[in-house]
Point group: C2
Chain length 401, copies 2
DNA sequence: CTTATTAAGTCAAATGTATTGACTTAATAG
DNA sequence: CTATTAAGTCAATACATTTGACTTAATAAG
């Protein structure tokens, strides 16, 4: 008689969900358009003037938005634009990479206020956890020194590290990131910091950053192709980061290419790891970026050869991304020297034909994104901000508390 | 002073949006789990018993759900399960293919009640429009003969045809589907039928069908690889069909493969069109499927060779889909003879390694889906049903009326 | 300079949904 | 036979948006 297979259903919603959504819509509108009057917000969101006024009062009370000077524009009472208050919220972003870990503190509009990095000793979580917790604590206290009350307005800690997560036999990475995969990182960090902790792979983090302050700002369908030690794609679909069933969507580094009868993961051909190997560079060298910049400026043959080979693979990856996702634009970014990304983009063009070729395009098919060692940490921090303030289906539902 | 670049913002929501969502959640829960008591619904949806009762009263009044016999299960008052009423809603689905057009009428639970097909004369829309409108009218009147009041409960007309839509230079298809692309089909059909009309490519339609009554039932992350005259992928992401920025997401037929230094669209190698060409079959032959079944049963060498070549490309496509989307499962379906799909699946296995290999998998990585000439028309009809009754973010918003 | 017009924004009452807590109904366990 | 458990209802309440009238403050027109 115990017929208890669990019942699967989506969550319902109620007034609080409605209100939460409308607040997020306001914040989103101000983020995309800059400061807006309440009348403009009402028109844009389909809500009534009264509702908008009520919500703005609340948001102002919460310190998230503030009025600017009244604007006269033609007849009628001047409007009072409201804009986001950068100090309205903060988040900590943490990047855990192979040899280094970086932490940043960002505010509501995505400005980086504090940044710190530390070398990550080999040995995995056993030795690394303390380094990381100290780094986060350091950034936090520095932030508290820069702005008062920052602790109260801290919405969470976002972590970015190379994926994929939870996959069998991902131990073929010679580096010991595998050890981190086993380790209960989120729980440890949550316990050690008292913050809400979220996890993304680094391509997803890069995409989150591009959406908040970069080339994907205001876009609902964009793919960030991220060239780092590995390679991955961060997916913005329907205005939200898409993670797939297990958070591993976009992990294209493991995609197998077939050429000359052999199969190779994309990662082995188009990633900084492959560049380092190609040029016999030491990934742990602190002057790595300077060294690469030097090679680029000297038009070194070795790096040029790598760029051309990688560009061919990237050209095809972009073609596939366009074909599969039909995005508004593709953004090429990376934790690589900016000059390298520029050279890659130059070498990639012209793009392969695809469904992205359509009349009335306004955005370029391929755009450069951030190429900055700190962009992943920024994206990691953007995660909690986005989760707390961007309109999302899940935020309406009762089971999101 | 005219600073009027348009303001971009997402729509807000209100009580009606809440209510609409909760109704959809109920219907969805009953679709996935079968009949449920109001108490079960309340627990599963996080709503209160009272709210669920109120909504069920409304849905029953609207003829969408109905009570079943009370069930005693242990102590306490017996529960009254409510289930979907199949006759609660209907939709017409229309498939426009190269040589043929098919129309079906389906009910709320996805049962096909009426089906009719007609040959599509060459000449494109100028001659085809009348054939199509007659076919739809025929199905509609047959439906009215089978169930009373069907017209009142008709939620729309869903159209499926080969994509992609609105792309430059899609005229390299020798067949004249291009002419259909230019034609204002939706407007013509809306005017000619008085129904709401929606459009999908045929892979998306197949995915919609699989989600309503097939292998993707109850799944929120699934990809349907659809082998038809062309090849495409229908994407179920976050429980909704994903169309991309322009409705062309998943149009992988145009994906270029590189082998032997040449590039070929996937469609030229793994699609029925390629099979027909390989075997010199006439795509317009009405006995095509029987002929293929015959070749299969005779283990014909030519078809065997095609199967092995196509399977290699499909194996790699599935690998790529798993890598990029991280779905719960991949479904292989098609408007091909069922035996052919079975043989393809057999020839595809074993799958390439990918991030889909993880501990705790419950679903197979690859599953067979519908292989039925009518599945696209069914999916076309499932479109309006899904749009009307499935929980979706857009359905909450004010700008969805 | 005066008046009409336009637009932003507020006020107070009304509306629509979900929630709350007490209550009723109806079964089984002991 | 009684206690217990669970489904479901009733009536009042809470919460967020909406409505329509009103106020404020500017420019345009005569």
């Amino acid at each position: 008689m115990n017929d208890s297979r669990p019942i699967r259903a989506k969550s319902g919603t109620n007034h609080e969900g409605t209100s939460a959504h409308n607040r997020r819509v306001m914040i989103d509108a101000l983020r995309i358009n800059g400061a807006l009057s309440r009348a403009d917000l009402a028109r844009a969101t389909w809500l009534t003037k009264q509702t908008v006024s009520n919500i703005i009062v609340e948001l102002e009370h919460d310190g998230l938005v503030g009025p600017q000077e009244a604007v006269r524009k033609g007849r009628g009472q001047p409007s009072t634009p409201y804009g986001l208050v950068p100090e309205g919220a903060f988040a900590i972003g943490l990047q855990i990479d192979r040899h280094v870990t970086r932490a940043v503190a960002v505010d509501l509009v995505g400005s980086v206020l504090v940044r710190e990095e530390a070398g990550l000793p080999p040995g995995g979580p056993s030795t690394g956890t303390k380094v990381i917790l100290d780094l986060v604590a350091g950034v936090r206290s520095k932030l508290a020194g820069v702005v008062r009350q920052s602790e109260k307005r801290l919405v969470g800690l976002g972590v970015a590290m190379p994926g994929p997560f939870g996959v069998d036999g991902s131990g073929d990475d010679p580096w010991m990131m595998a050890a981190w995969q086993q380790f209960p990182l989120l729980e440890t960090l949550a316990a050690g910091t008292g913050l809400d902790v979220g996890l993304q792979n680094d391509a997803a983090a890069a995409a989150t950053a591009e959406r908040m302050v970069g080339a994907a700002h205001g876009l609902d369908h964009a793919v960030c192709l991220f060239v780092g030690y590995g390679i991955g794609a961060g997916l913005i679909l329907n205005g939200e980061l898409y993670g797939g069933a297990n958070g591993n969507a976009g992990e294209i580094g493991m995609a197998l290419l077939f050429a000359d009868g052999k199969s190779t993961p994309l990662e082995h051909r188009a990633s900084l790891a492959s560049l380092y190997q190609h040029l016999s560079l030491d990934p742990a060298d602190p002057a790595l970026h300077a060294r690469i910049d030097d090679l680029l400026s000297r038009n070194d043959r070795g790096i040029q050869a790598w760029i051309e080979a990688a560009a061919a693979d990237l050209r095809w990856s972009i073609h596939l991304i366009e074909t599969v996702f039909d995005p508004q634009t593709v953004i090429l970014c990376g934790s690589a020297p900016e000059a390298l990304v520029e050279r890659l983009i130059a070498a990639i063009g012209p793009l392969l034909p695809s469904i992205a070729e359509r009349r009335g395009r306004t955005l370029p098919r391929l755009q450069p994104g951030m190429a900055d060692p700190w962009s992943v940490a920024l994206g990691a921090a953007a995660g909690p901000i986005s989760r707390a303030f961007d309109p999302r289906f899940a935020a309406i539902l009762k089971d999101s508390l």
